[in-house]
């Protein structure tokens, strides 16, 4: 069972993967616009992933997700 923090880590990983792939593309694109791709594409996506990861560390508990108990 995946905990809420693990779900956030998965999402953060996907953001960082996307950002790093965009950064790699910006190295091979020989155009002055490649810097803008790096700045707004790569940095934006990777920073979103990093922030999501750091925020989830302090806001989300690590306990496995459980069905809420029904009060009788």
């Amino acid at each position: 069972m995946i905990t809420p923090i693990e779900r956030r880590i998965r999402l953060a990983s996907l953001f960082v993967i996307a950002g790093l792939l965009v950064e790699a593309v910006s190295f091979f694109w020989k155009s002055p616009l490649s810097f803008f791709l790096f700045l707004f594409g790569a940095c934006g996506l990777a920073a979103a992933g990093i922030v999501l990861f750091l925020v989830s560390l302090i806001t989300v508990g690590g306990a496995p997700t459980q069905e809420p108990r029904k009060s009788s």
């Binding site: 995946i2 990983s13 960082v16 790093l20 803008f36």
Partner: protein, 213 residues
């Protein structure tokens, strides 16, 4: 050695490890798993982004980068003018500036944060080139400062002992203090002069890059 091949390697390793983390997020349970996640989602991307910014800034200093905009083509052409009066051409052809960083060497400000200001101006140029209207006549934002010339020439024998730099009309102190402009005093006022390119002859470098005999 350029930085970007190392960064591509770092990015490749990080992405492969992150794919595993995305598929098996439960691997982050335990202290070792949390450290693993911290390295992959924080440290490695932060390092890759910092290195990437350095690599892009370094690339933006290259002559090839500056001349990749259509508006700069005549300025690139002016570096090959076969005329000693053309200041930029003489600097380029005689290796007085590194050929692969020719534009940046003369057009950066040699003061604290000067390179940062140059890069911000460069960002503006890129935006104007792609999303704005390039003016018919491209002018400097401010008159060319002697400081940029003196960064290299100050103390050099050809500069210090030149008769033209020591006569009564242009005393050395006035040049060094900037009271007499190198480029606008009538002494070295032919820099790029792109509007004259149709009337001049051009230097053809030999394949080895040496001046043809």
């Amino acid at each position: 050695m350029p930085l970007w091949p190392f960064l591509v390697g770092l990015i490749g390793l990080t992405v492969v490890s992150l794919v595993y983390l995305a598929v098996r997020p439960d691997a982050t349970r335990g202290l070792a798993g949390k450290a693993y996640a911290f390295v992959l989602i924080f440290l490695a991307p932060a390092l890759a982004l910092f290195g990437g910014s350095q690599a892009h800034l370094e690339r933006s200093k290259s002559t090839e980068f500056c001349l990749s905009c259509h508006a700069m083509e005549p300025y690139g052409k002016s570096l090959f003018v076969d005329d000693k009066e053309f200041l930029a051409a003489q600097h380029y052809q005689n290796n007085r500036v590194p050929r692969d960083h020719a534009c940046y060497t003369c057009h950066t400000d040699y003061v604290m944060f000067g390179p940062v200001r140059s890069k911000l101006r460069g960002l503006r140029h890129v935006l104007v080139n792609y999303f704005g209207t390039v003016p018919d006549t491209i002018r400097l934002y401010s008159p060319f400062n002697n400081r940029e010339c003196l960064h290299c020439h100050l103390g050099s024998r050809s500069f210090e002992e030149s008769a033209g730099h020591k006569d009564e009309e242009t005393p050395m102190e006035a040049i060094k203090s900037g009271k007499v402009s190198c480029l606008e005093s009538g002494c070295h006022d032919v820099a790029h002069n792109v509007h004259e390119l149709a009337e001049v002859e051009f230097w053809k470098p030999t394949p080895s890059g040496k001046v043809p005999e």
